[in-house]
Symmetry: C2
Subunit: 199 residues, 2 copies
């Protein structure tokens, strides 16, 4: 062995793994995930495709890394919404993601239905537990809480998807969206209480 372990030979790296992922992310968020090509990424970085293939075995591996970045961003958005009410926080974080990264949000819903389904199934029990602690929701059975949660999640998903696709009324603001989300959540909970004779 001519060199010790850890030695780095050759020219300095000009294009890092992160730069590549960032370039891919930019393309995905402006033109859609399917519009990503190796040559476009290279052009965006001002390089050839060679640095990409040094950092990633092939396009599948790059896509995996891109998905990881997207998930990490969505997690970051969730962390930033910290009112302690995970119920509300998840809705708001999803709404923010849908608005700030609308093209990617659309693509993610379609591409990774399976992933999202698994994700949902993981957080559902946690959310139900949180709901059981909420004094506003006292007196409901677990099945009733599940129905309430499902209704609100369906509404929140529809709102996010309509926002991401420009299907909401013109000049509908972020505040309008947050308002209609919490208003409809109130509707669902209030009606459940009335049906149960809790009011």
């Amino acid at each position: 062995m001519l060199f010790k372990d850890g030695d780095i030979l050759g020219p300095k790296t000009k294009f890092t793994r992160e730069q590549i992922i960032d370039a891919a992310f930019d393309i995905a968020n402006s033109e859609g995930i399917d519009s990503i090509t190796m040559r476009k990424i290279a052009e965006k970085m001002g390089s050839s495709v060679a640095p990409i293939y040094v950092n990633f075995k092939n396009v599948d591996e790059l896509n995996e890394a891109l998905i990881e970045k997207i998930i990490s961003i969505s997690r970051q958005l969730l962390l930033e919404e910290n009112t302690g009410n995970p119920f509300r926080d998840i809705g708001m974080a999803s709404l923010r993601f849908a608005m700030e990264y609308s093209v990617i949000f659309r693509d993610m819903v379609i591409k990774s239905g399976k992933y999202m389904q698994g994700y949902d199934e993981k957080i559902m029990p946690t959310l139900i537990e949180e709901m059981q602690k909420d004094p506003e929701l006292r007196g409901f059975t677990i099945d009733e809480l599940k129905t309430i949660l499902l209704k609100i999640r369906i509404f929140q998903f529809g709102l996010s998807m309509m926002a991401a696709n420009g299907l909401l009324p013109k000049d509908y603001s972020k505040q309008d969206m947050m308002d209609i989300l919490s208003s409809t959540a109130d509707d669902v909970i209030m009606s459940a209480k009335i049906r149960k004779g809790l009011r």
Copy 2:
């Protein structure tokens, strides 16, 4: 002129315009609209690409015809839901489309945001008029009716989209979906009444 007008010469047509559109529709509904290629359509029909180019100038013209077929199917579904309550009928028809042609539904939402937006803006006034006739909804201002309609449309869109993407709980039946849609619509209306002191 050797032949009279209206004469048809040459071999009999084996592949009609409709067969081509149907083949394209099948591919769109199983693999997605973007997966349609001239060669795949030909293979599905057991032909070459030649008959396609006799019936359509290019791929754009074929896509136009495909969109027309999709719209016509969605219109047919709406006609089949005829309870006289356009409010409910549109929701159910959209839900059926999302379930029976889920891949196409997803693609249509994404591809033709502009078209859908225009479509919505056209039927909104009609729906508001219908709501004004409904004795259940007496006493609301137009703005209040608009909010109620928007809430229900957002929920219905979210439900359709989740159904089309397999994001609903396992074994969630069509009946379950129709039930949760009308139940949530009731929630929204009931809550609006209570807020207004109508109950």
